[in-house]
């Protein structure tokens, strides 16, 4: 396939223009002129969000090296200008930050797997043999998912009938549970980079790829699990497995499926967007990368060489439809639409809705208990902080009597708008995990700097292959300055203990509270209990603006 011969189109502009008319309908959201002979449906990073939620996209998402100023590192008004999105439009609300609280009131919640089911069914009505591919981070992120060890998500996703899936947080259920679920899955569990840790050979439980015959086209779907699972998440929970990018093996798999007659090669990836871009420049022969992990929602695919990369957001907020024209063993063109799941516009699928309620029924009272209310917009996304983590850090410092608090830079967790009740479910949605113990520990100033430098390099290393795809660890009680353009060891300066205004002393010991340690045997109360106790005492949540991180070198 020559890139110049490939014709592409994306359909987001259609619903962007409907803003002025205030007439968004399900038909308009789903409008798509069926194209070519193959349809792919991509969902990813659902993080166990069965029900509609609010989800604010980031306003700070800095790109470094070759990705400086490139999507997805363009946010807010700049993002809207780039794609010609009108301010105040549904696309503004769905895809970018800015005026979030007021737009949320106008356009309502997003997501809900019963609405996602409606969209998938509509696409299948157009193209009955469309492939549904799940990019992973599905069996993690809510109270019901935690309590059922992922079973609620497995039950609901099975009803959507995916064709294949790859993985990340799923492994934090522990390898035994993962094996138990995967062995019973009615679809393919893929990961060319999931290896046996002891023998450094492909793991038996996960196949590298699967062939499908759709629309007369022989399609190979190759899985790419999150490469840095044992580093970003607790290795001791899945010691049998080793990961890594393994782009040489990816090339070998592409060559293998091409030799076996694949006319279309699709990579179902949990690499993160920048890693996928780099991989696409190294590995030849992949037509489409369905990209997950970094939670980016892009209204158009990004073209790298002859590969299109599709980013489909997170938390059930979007479904991507990609129609492809594959002829003579080549991808000749594509038509793409990132479909936002406006939950008040799309009718829920009744069967899936009742299945969801069935999963939640045993926990209904626990989930719905109101713990407090918020006067603030509570959100997580952003490179350095978000109000949810400000609140979590405050809870850690007050409940655990600490000088400094640390909250991990994860990107999952829905938002709440001012005036919302905070239910127990809302707290679990931003904290739920299988290693949520809130530790209390002594650290020297020097060691705190080492942690910040280490995490900063996982985000701001100019080589995407050395990035893990999260955000900066959130810090409560301490300010600092970061120059993102510097190498590791030189980025962090001016660390200040906020309560005294004094500089952090490298040799002095501070009490630090945090959660989500990757170390086995970490002790402490569960983070959701710490946060619940704090919110209960506060009643109504208000927060001081967080200006404690000064960013330079952008």
């Amino acid at each position: 396939m020559a890139a110049s011969a490939m014709v592409g189109a994306s359909g987001f502009g259609n619903w962007a223009r409907l803003a002025a008319q205030q007439s968004l309908t399900q038909d308009q959201l789903l409008q798509f002129d069926t194209f070519g002979n193959v349809s792919l449906i991509h969902v990813t990073d659902i993080h166990a969000q069965l029900k509609p939620i609010y989800f604010r996209e980031p306003s700070i998402n800095i790109g470094v090296g070759g990705n400086k100023g490139e999507v997805p590192h363009v946010t807010g008004a700049d993002f809207r200008r780039l794609y010609g999105i009108e301010d105040g439009s549904p696309s503004h609300y769905a895809l970018s930050s800015g005026d979030f609280a007021s737009l949320a009131q106008a356009y309502g919640k997003v997501g809900g797997l019963d609405r996602v089911a409606t969209v998938i069914n509509a696409i299948r009505a157009d193209r009955p043999d469309a492939l549904l591919l799940d990019g992973g981070d599905t069996w993690h992120g809510s109270m019901t998912c935690y309590k059922t060890e992922g079973q609620d998500m497995v039950n609901v996703m099975n009803a959507l009938k995916p064709d294949a899936m790859t993985f990340h947080w799923e492994f934090t259920l522990g390898s035994e549970r993962v094996q138990e679920i995967v062995e019973g899955l009615p679809f393919a569990a893929l990961g060319q980079n999931i290896f046996d840790a002891e023998w450094d050979e492909p793991a038996e439980l996960f196949k590298p790829y699967k062939f499908f015959e759709r629309g007369g086209v022989k399609i190979a779907v190759i899985g790419q699990a999150f490469p840095y699972m044992p580093i970003a998440n607790p290795r001791w929970m899945f010691p049998e497995y080793s990961f890594g990018i393994r782009d040489e093996n990816m090339q070998a798999m592409v060559d293998e499926v091409r030799a076996a007659g694949a006319e279309l090669v699709v990579c179902l990836s949990h690499n993160g967007f920048d890693v996928d871009k780099q991989m696409a420049s190294v590995v030849t022969g992949i037509d489409v990368i369905l990209s997950g992990h970094t939670h980016d929602a892009l209204p158009e695919p990004v073209l790298v060489g002859e590969t299109i990369i599709v980013a489909s957001g997170s938390n059930g907020k979007f479904v991507s439809r990609v129609d492809l024209d594959v002829r003579d063993g080549r991808m000749m063109g594509f038509r793409h639409k990132l479909i936002p799941i406006f939950s008040d516009v799309i009718t829920p699928d009744a069967k899936v809705a009742s299945l969801i309620d069935e999963q939640r029924a045993p926990y209904k009272a626990e989930l719905e208990e109101v713990i407090g209310t918020t006067d603030e917009l509570l959100y997580r996304r952003g490179n350095f902080n978000g109000t949810w983590d400000d609140l979590i850090c405050n809870a850690l410092m007050s409940e655990r009597e600490a000088d400094i608090a640390m909250s991990p830079g994860v990107r999952w967790g829905p938002s709440l708008i001012p005036g919302d009740n905070i239910t127990r479910e809302d707290i679990w949605n931003v904290t739920s995990m299988s290693y949520g113990e809130a530790y209390r520990s002594e650290m020297t100033g020097e060691f705190i700097k080492v942690i910040l430098e280490d995490v900063a390099d996982n985000i701001f290393n100019p080589d995407p292959y050395y990035q893990q795809g999260g955000d900066m660890v959130r810090i409560g009680g301490m300010g600092y300055r970061i120059d993102v353009s510097k190498p590791q060891g030189e980025r962090i300066s001016d660390m200040t203990l906020l309560k005294t205004g004094e500089a952090i002393d490298p040799s002095k010991t501070y009490i630090v509270a945090g959660w989500a340690s990757v170390n086995e045997g970490t002790e402490g109360p569960q983070i959701w209990d710490v946060v619940e106790s704090h919110i209960r005492k506060q009643g109504t949540i208000t927060l001081e603006p967080n200006n404690s991180v000064e960013v330079t070198g952008v």
Binding site: D200, M229, I231, T294, V455, Y466, D471, Q488, V518
Partner: protein, 138 residues
């Protein structure tokens, strides 16, 4: 990130070293290369070095080396206090000129492989392997 008290204290002791990451090629590595090559010129390429971008466990990092027609391959961890890892010698009956092992890396550093080829020339490959505290993936 590392947060239990015991681990924290253990890591704290290493913090002085970790702040100068990444480790650079030290004189001992240069000496080892010179000893192996006898000071001859070393060309880039011709050696395959298989190493992870980020080590899953710095205490046991899988490394593979191979070079077509090599008679010996020197493997170095340039930033370790003692850089020498192994020298693999391949006799004329060797079925393949490849080897793999697991090594311990004290911190982020370059792993270097130098192959001595059948014609007496030398080839080189290196890769930065990052050793990280980890723990904050999205």
């Amino acid at each position: 990130m590392d947060f239990t008290r015991r681990e924290t204290l253990a890591l704290g002791a290493g913090a002085a070293l970790m702040t100068v990451l990444p480790f650079r090629v030290n004189a001992a590595a240069d000496d080892a290369i010179n000893e192996f090559t006898g000071g001859a010129a070393v060309a880039d390429g011709g050696v395959d070095l298989d190493a992870p971008e980020i080590a899953e466990n710095g205490n046991t990092v899988p490394i593979g080396v191979s070079a077509e027609g090599a008679t010996a391959i020197l493997l170095l961890a340039a930033g370790n206090p003692t850089p020498g890892v192994a020298t693999y010698n391949f006799g004329p009956l060797a079925g393949s000129t490849a080897a793999s092992t697991r090594i311990r890396l004290a911190g982020t550093q370059d792993v270097i492989a130098i192959a001595k080829l059948a014609d007496g020339s030398f080839a080189r490959a290196s890769k930065t392997v990052k050793v990280t505290i980890g723990g904050c993936g999205g």
